[in-house]
């Protein structure tokens, strides 16, 4: 019994949250790496008339037409000019494939689950809605994107 309890503690201590680290408006965010299919350089997409700012167009990636998701308007961040560091993170989650436009991509990381913290109460609720919490990577806070909520928000008209 005692040994089992110790093993559980050890497992908890080793538990990690696997994410792709990316940057938006200078802040670190994490996307569950299990949902990431690939990362490609940003390229101009085809705008679709009548589409909302968070879903402004489409692009073809390996023959598949994907919607481009602009995270900045969703998260209430200011629009920025595109630079050479901009990337498209191709994500498959639930039954949805999409290309997330981000400012830059850093690396895959296994973040210690024990550093998981709830979101600060002062965070804008419009942004907090799309986040699961905060973990730390080399003492920097990383906001975890909630892909379920992101897709629900996009479907609902966020």
């Amino acid at each position: 019994m005692f040994a089992s309890s110790s093993t559980e503690k050890d497992t908890a201590a080793l538990a990690t949250i696997d994410v792709l680290l990316l940057r938006l408006a200078g802040e670190l965010y994490g996307v569950p790496s299990a949902s990431v299919r690939e990362v490609v350089r940003y390229r101009a997409y085809t705008p679709v008339p009548g589409s909302p700012p968070s879903l402004p167009g489409i692009l073809s990636q390996r023959g598949v037409i994907l919607p481009v998701v602009e995270l900045r308007p969703l998260l209430g961040l200011a629009i920025a000019t595109v630079t050479r560091a901009d990337r498209l993170v191709i994500v498959a989650h639930q039954d949805i494939d999409m290309a997330l436009h981000v400012e830059s991509v850093l690396d895959l990381a296994a973040l210690p689950a024990e550093t998981h913290q709830p979101l600060p109460a002062a965070l804008d609720p419009a942004r907090a809605r799309f986040l699961r919490g905060i973990v730390h990577h080399e003492q920097n806070p990383v906001m975890l994107l909630d892909l379920d909520e992101l897709i629900a928000g996009l479907r609902a008209g966020a």
Partner: protein, 140 residues
């Protein structure tokens, strides 16, 4: 009988694919007032710039325009474009991704097709013409 012919049309900034079946005719004009000439059609005809209707930044400076004449019940709507580039027979277009399709604020885009390494949005010109007519009536 419905045909599968698509026209690729060009505005100042974009190319779009449109169904030939949605058109009454394509007419070359040098002056939009030509469209209002009495006796041209058996219904009134209004002229609207396709590019700026779909994207306000898409403004053409050309004088010679191609008018895509779309028949509606009581009017014709002439959607003005810079060029008609290509006629494609049996071009394969695919529906837009569902996530985007569900969120369109206007039912203008109905698919996409790959052409010359570009993705081109396929339009429902009748839906576009109906929107143009509503906005024209609102202005009037």
């Amino acid at each position: 009988m419905a045909s599968n012919v698509l026209l690729i049309v060009r505005t100042a900034l974009c190319r779009y694919a449109v169904r030939h079946d949605d058109l009454f005719e394509v007419k070359l004009i040098t002056d939009a007032t030509e469209l209002r000439a009495s006796g041209l059609y058996n219904r009134p005809c209004i002229g609207v710039e396709l590019g700026s209707l779909l994207d306000p930044s898409d403004q053409s400076s050309l004088v010679r325009r191609r008018a895509l004449i779309v028949p509606l019940r009581r009017r014709y709507v002439a959607l003005l474009v810079d060029y008609v580039d290509t006629f494609l027979e049996q071009a394969a277009s695919v529906p837009l991704p569902a996530l985007l399709r569900e969120r369109l604020q206007q039912p203008w885009a109905i698919g996409a097709l790959a052409l010359d390494d570009d993705l081109i949005v396929k339009l429902d010109l009748r839906a576009v013409a109906r929107s143009a007519m509503i906005s024209y009536a609102g202005e009037g």
